[in-house]
């Protein structure tokens, strides 16, 4: 296929357009399908972008911090805490280490267990917040030294629970992308059906055109142009409605930046503008394929 096939579509050919009679319901079906599918695609796009952002944010926030958790009988807890702090202070690659206050730990646990948590009565481990320096530390070496100095200490460098989160976010993003592909596929299928219906309804027109010496490419162009423009128009409407929908989604950024809103942010708003040209392209190829195949059946 030549590039000119696409520029021809945009330039248009009055005469070639008119050889196919305007047909009501397939026109409507195509525009509606394109609008509905683009509307859905805007949300799928928002989902992909948001989960992508989520994965980045979790990754960034957690990458440079770690926790040492000390579980020990009450009597040994302070001694072990001190030992751990000493170890951390002499470990290269660690910028800062700080034992958390009871109040801080309570605040951390409160969202999960409620405000009435009897912290004193429970064997809550002591938490030490570790901030990594730029060059990073050797976590295996640190683990061994901690095991020797403070048997109750466990280094939690977050990778263990960060990984499933990142994987979950990645899956969500994949889900969004898959949805967009499925939406594109469904749209191609429906436009193919509409194009086939239109070709069948116009078999007499096609016959006449063939008889006066029209090549398949000429006939196909008349149909393809019509369906492409309808899909483009429908898709623009769908994209605008979808973006309005996304703009009015409640913001979920309250949760301390941990969660993220489903909406678009910044240049993310440009992505939905890609959908109408994409929909037009899907319509272009779907109709073109259907038309060339159908023509061989018809005459």
């Amino acid at each position: 296929m030549k590039f000119s096939a696409i520029t021809d579509i945009l330039r248009g050919d009055k005469q070639a357009d008119r050889v196919v009679p305007p047909s009501g319901h397939t026109a409507w079906l195509t525009s509606f399908t394109a609008a509905a599918m683009t509307f859905l695609a805007v949300f799928a796009l928002a989902l992909s972008l948001a989960t992508g952002r989520l994965a980045d944010r979790w990754g960034d926030a957690l990458a440079h911090s770690a926790t040492v958790r000390i579980s020990a009988p009450t009597g040994q807890l302070d001694a072990q805490t001190r030992a751990v702090l000493d170890v951390l202070a002499t470990t290269p690659g660690i910028a800062r280490a700080r034992a958390m206050e009871d109040a801080e730990q309570r605040a951390l646990l409160e969202p999960w267990f409620g405000p009435d948590l009897p912290l004193d009565a429970l064997p809550i481990p002591r938490l030490i917040e570790v901030t990594e320096s730029r060059e990073g530390y050797d976590s295996e070496g640190l683990r061994q030294r901690l095991a020797a100095e403070a048997p109750g200490a466990v280094l939690d460098d977050h990778t263990r629970w960060r990984r499933p989160l990142a994987v979950a976010a990645g899956r969500l993003r994949l889900l969004g992308v898959t949805s967009i592909l499925l939406i594109g596929g469904a749209m191609a299928a429906m436009i193919t059906l509409a194009a086939n219906a239109s070709l069948a309804a116009n078999s007499q027109v096609i016959r006449v055109l063939r008889l006066v010496g029209a090549r398949d490419a000429y006939i196909v162009r008349a149909f393809v142009r019509r369906f492409t423009l309808r899909a483009l128009a429908g898709s623009v409407v769908g994209a605008v409605l979808g973006m309005i929908g996304v703009a009015f989604l409640p913001a979920a950024d309250m949760a301390g930046g941990f969660l993220t809103g489903l909406g678009f942010q910044g240049s993310g708003w440009l992505w939905p503008f890609l959908l109408p040209p994409l929909a037009a392209m899907v319509a272009f190829f779907a109709t073109r394929f259907a038309a060339f195949r159908k023509l061989k059946e018809l005459t």
């Binding site: 008119r18 006449v208 055109l209 063939r210 006066v212 398949d216």
Partner: protein, 223 residues
């Protein structure tokens, strides 16, 4: 221009045409006659490659029809003007657009002056803006002839072009065909109207082919 060599055609039942051999020389004028249902339209469809022979060979402009792809068939049809038995217009477009369709599909612009001449020639000057369904049978057939010749084809094939016409109008259409032939076009007219053939023979040295019992014969002078 058009040559048949032992051609047979069957729509799936028995053979409708058998052992048909035929050669249309450039500039010749032929009638094709035979009873209704004999296969006149079928033979014309073989001539413009809407149907392919089930046996034998058909050569159009020195090309074997079996070797043609769809684009090549389209190109061949641009060199032929066909008046179909059922006319075949695009009913949603005005007559002028229908007449210039052969030019439009081959990417050419029909001259407005030519179109005007052509409409006058077939006596349809007033009806350029009419839609085909609004025309009478005779007007449609004249329009079909106008469309057939707009690209100045080498060959004109006409299938019962006077089927819907009264005698005066039939003669007028015949005159148009004779004029075309005098301009050097090869003409093949299928008709069961023997009076028309007799009238034509006074104007051109036309040959008469007859389909009889599945075979094509050259009819004698004794029509």
């Amino acid at each position: 221009m058009i040559a048949f060599e032992n051609v047979a055609y069957s729509y799936g039942g028995g053979e409708l045409l058998s052992e048909v051999s035929l050669r249309l020389a450039p500039g010749s004028f032929h009638f094709l006659t035979g009873p209704s249902g004999a296969g006149k339209s079928t033979l014309l469809k073989l001539c413009y490659a809407e149907l392919l022979p089930t046996a034998g060979h058909i050569t159009l402009f020195d090309r074997d029809v079996h070797g043609l792809d769809r684009d090549e068939v389209a190109m061949l049809r641009r060199r032929m003007g066909v008046v179909h038995q059922d006319c075949q217009f695009l009913d949603h477009l005005p007559l002028t657009t229908n007449l210039t369709l052969p030019a439009a599909v081959s990417g050419r612009q029909a001259e407005a002056a030519d179109l005007k001449d052509l409409l006058g020639w077939v006596g349809l000057s007033r009806l350029g803006d009419a839609l085909p369904p609004q025309l009478s049978g005779g007007e449609r057939q004249r329009a079909a002839l106008a469309r057939a010749v707009i690209m100045s084809p080498d060959v004109v094939l006409a299938d019962e072009p006077t089927g819907n016409l009264d005698w005066d109008m039939s003669l007028r259409l015949l005159t148009l065909l004779v004029e075309l032939n005098k301009m050097g076009k090869t003409i093949l007219v299928a008709t069961h109207d023997l009076n028309l053939i007799r009238a034509a023979k006074q104007q051109v040295p036309a040959r008469v082919l007859r389909i009889s019992k599945r075979r094509l014969q050259l009819a004698g002078a004794d029509l």
